[in-house]
Structures are given as C-alpha cells and as structure tokens.
C-alpha cells in the first residue's frame, strides 16, 4: 500500500504518543501488534528493526533490571532476606519500559519506508519553510555519511599498518584524541564545501522554490488521517478517565 509521507508522520505521532502514555505491558503489546501490522502492510523488512535495536540492547536490559529492583509491588517472587528482589509488579513495569522503547523504534521505522525527497515535499507542502525542511533532510542524510567517514578513518589508520586491537589502551586514547580534531575539522570543511556547491546551484536564489513532484493525498490517506488521530484521541481520553477514577 502506498500512503503519503505526511500520513505516515501522523501515524508515527499517534503510535509513539500512545506508547509514551501507556505503561502496562498488555496495552503496549497491543500497540506493538498494530505497529508491526502497519510495517508489514508497507512491506518493511522486520529483521531490520532488530539491527536498529541492537545498540540499545544493553540499555534495555539495564532499564529492565532497574525497574525490577526499584519499583517493587505485587507478590514477591525472589527475596534476599527482608529485601524483595524480584516482584510481579517490578517485572511488569520493567517489561513495560522495554516494550515502550520497542514500540517507539518500530513506529519510527514507518518513516524509513519513504525517502528524504518525500520527507521534504511533505514538510514543504505543510508550509514548513523549505530551508528548514532541507536542513532536517540533509542532517538525516549525512548521519550515515559521517558514520562512514569515521569508519573510513578507522580503516585508513589500520591500513597504514597499525593494529588497533593490539595497541594498549593508553596509547589508543592518545592516538584517538590526536585524530579527533583533524577528523572533526575535516568534516566541517566538507560541510562548508557542500554549502558552497548548493549555493552554486541556486539554493535560496528566491524566497520560494518549485518542485518536480507534488504529493497528493489519496482516498486511503484521508481514511487513515481520520481513523488514526480519532482512535488515538479516544484512547487518550479513555486513559485519562480511567486514571481519574
């Protein structure tokens, strides 16, 4: 199914908003199910979520343990003397925190199902100034480039015959700190050149610019744009009511 990127942005806002609101594993699981269903509809490779979550794995384990230990409630499952170590309530809170991270990451993956160009178009057609839209899109685009740049430097250093793994920590830190400045300065030089070449192609000649393509909402977009926010608002109101009672 093809939806307008703006529609997807609204979906992401609804899903991650609810994820931040909910704190019980049951509801978060339901939310995750909806998100995964959406990703499947947009033919997103679910395996990729795993690779995005991987760097956060240790953080998630840490949060889980912290929640288990410091939010005890319900039945005690394991205790050291008088101190309850694992409680049912703690487990549930811990699971909730982890699930929340998973839902927000998975929802953000919906944004990966359209490209930077659609992102700019979406924002601009929503009257966001185009300079700002480009700034965001170029920042997003150059994140992987800067990561590559770092990988390149690390590769280049090793290809000059330095075995990074065998270098003792003390030396490694001096070496990295010596390389830090040139690498950052080099990245800034490159950013400056990029700005020059954008300007050389007429960026900001006029206060306005035109676009090769135009995004149009389809009927499906209107349906989703009605259903998602409506459902989200209803759920938020219900949640607040439940809290009030």
């Amino acid at each position: 199914m093809k939806l307008d990127p703006r529609t997807k942005m609204v979906m992401v806002l609804c899903l991650s908003g609810l994820a931040l609101l909910y704190n019980t594993p049951g509801r978060l699981l339901l939310l995750l199910a909806v998100t995964v269903a959406m990703l499947l509809i947009f033919r997103f490779d679910l395996g990729a979520i795993g690779s995005y979550l991987k760097p956060f794995l240790s953080l998630m384990v840490f949060l889980f343990v912290i929640q288990c230990l410091f939010a005890p409630s319900g039945c005690v499952l394991l205790a050291v003397g008088p101190v309850p170590l694992v409680t049912t309530g703690g487990l549930l809170t811990g699971a909730g925190v982890v699930l929340r991270i998973v839902v927000v990451t998975a929802a953000a993956m919906l944004l990966a199902t359209f490209n930077a160009r659609d992102f700019i178009l979406g924002l601009v057609q929503w009257k966001v100034p185009y300079e700002l839209a480009f700034m965001v899109s170029i920042a997003l685009r150059f994140l992987p480039v800067f990561r590559d740049e770092l990988v390149n430097v690390v590769t280049a250093v090793q290809l000059r015959g330095v075995d990074l793994k065998k270098v003792p920590w003390g030396q490694k830190i001096t070496m990295y700190s010596r390389l830090l400045f040139p690498v950052i300065y080099g990245a800034m030089l490159k950013a400056q050149r990029l700005a020059v070449s954008m300007e050389a192609r007429g960026f900001r000649v006029y206060p306005r610019r035109t676009y090769l393509r135009r995004l149009e909402f389809s009927r499906a977009d209107y349906v989703v744009l009605t259903v998602f926010p409506a459902a989200a608002i209803a759920l938020v109101i219900r949640h607040i009511n439940l809290l009030a009672h």
Partner: protein
C-alpha cells in the same frame, strides 16, 4: 604461488540484487605492475577493496602470501599491502602533512630519527616539502593525491594497490610517479593499479586486466620481461 590470489570471488552489496563482481579469478605476482581497467561502474574499486580486506567476498577466497586474507587483521594487511584510496580525502586524517607521512611508521614503533628521515625523503620526492606543517585537507586536490601516495609509500609495503593514482596529477608529476612505481617494481614488489589514464597505463603496466560488468573479459597476462624470458 602468487603473492595475492583471488579465486572464484563474487561480491554483491547488501540489499542489492545485482552482483558487482562475478567469478573473479586473478593471481598477482611480485615485481609485476598490473593495471585494472574498464568502464565506470564495472567494479574495479570494489575489487581493490576486496583485495585489502575492507570488503569480504560473498563467495570464493582471497589469499595473501599463501594465507587466507580473512585470517589477517586489517593492521597486518596494511603492513604488507599499501592501499591508495580513490578519494584522498578519505584517507588523510592527521593534523599536518608531515605527521600524515610518518603516521604508519611512528605508530609501529620506528625510531624517531628513522621516521623523520623517511618523512623528509618522501616529502622531498613528492614535492611537498613546503607543506610539512599544513593541514592536509587544505591542500589542492593534486597535492592531496601526492600526499596520500607518499603516506602509503613511506610505509614501504610489500605490495601496492592504487585506485586512480593519477587523478589530479599533471604530466610532470605523473612522470615522477611512474619512475617511482617502476623503481618499486624493480625492487621486487608488485602492484595493481586502477586507472582510466590510458597513456599512463600503456607506459607503466606490464599486464592489463579488463573488467566489464563485474567480470574479467580480458587478461593480457604478463607482457614484457616475462615474455622476453620465455
């Protein structure tokens, strides 16, 4: 046994369907200058990155000095094979030109005097003497290219892989590079160079391998010296 052996190597970038390289079989000997030529996008750069272990083949094996390349660390490869990247910006990372040339030696525990002596020699040969204290990325493209080559040569590797070494070099500097590469080859070290510069390839290369759409379509074998001896 050849110094660098590529056997049945194929390569596809992750999340791409079309292979960049298919069934490459090439052996490179010491003391031979081989040119790798072919149209833009034929997979030449990718092949060189496989040769120095920056990329891993999807199937097939590459052996360096008789041992599979996967058993070496990048540092170990770097001490044996010198690699000049296509874009010098990607391989210059030091604060000054002189530091750049001496980086490999200094970090491998060479004596300070030896490092300084060699740095002086290479800066002089590649006419970068006046720029010793300059930030590398402030140099012109041609100067950066010369610096990248000098920094790799200063390591005195056993084998060289050069990706488009003549880009940004003028006729006079090309001749300097040509002389030096020939000298290295005469000293018994081999090299592979990727180039579109047909004139340079004609003058320098003893063997020409043509790549097209990721396959070797022609391999002249070793001309010149070996042919004369045969």
């Amino acid at each position: 046994m050849s110094f660098l052996e590529i056997d049945h190597v194929s390569f596809t970038f992750p999340r791409h369907d079309k292979p960049v390289l298919t069934e490459i079989d090439l052996h490179f000997d010491q003391a031979v200058i081989t040119a790798l030529v072919g149209p833009n996008g034929s997979g030449k750069t990718t092949l060189t990155k496989l040769m120095i272990g920056v990329l891993r083949p999807a199937c097939g094996e590459i052996r360096l000095d008789g041992r599979p390349l996967v058993e070496y660390s990048l540092g170990e490869i770097g001490r044996r094979v010198g690699y000049v990247f296509q874009n010098p910006d990607l391989q210059l990372f030091c604060g000054t030109v002189a530091e750049e040339v001496g980086f490999g030696l200094a970090n491998r525990g060479c004596q300070r005097e030896t490092v300084e002596e060699r740095v002086a020699f290479y800066l002089d040969y590649f006419e970068l003497k006046d720029y010793g204290g300059v930030f590398p990325l402030h140099l012109s493209q041609g100067e950066k290219q010369r610096l990248a080559i000098a920094a790799v040569l200063a390591n005195e590797p056993l084998f060289l892989v050069l990706d488009e070494p003549t880009v940004g070099l003028d006729a006079y500097r090309k001749r300097l590079l040509e002389d030096y590469l020939k000298k290295i080859s005469r000293s018994g070290r081999g090299m592979v160079l990727v180039s579109h510069d047909t004139a340079f390839v004609d003058r320098v290369a003893e063997r020409v391998v043509i790549l097209e759409n990721g396959r070797v379509i022609e391999d002249s074998g070793r001309k010149g010296k070996a042919a004369d001896e045969a």
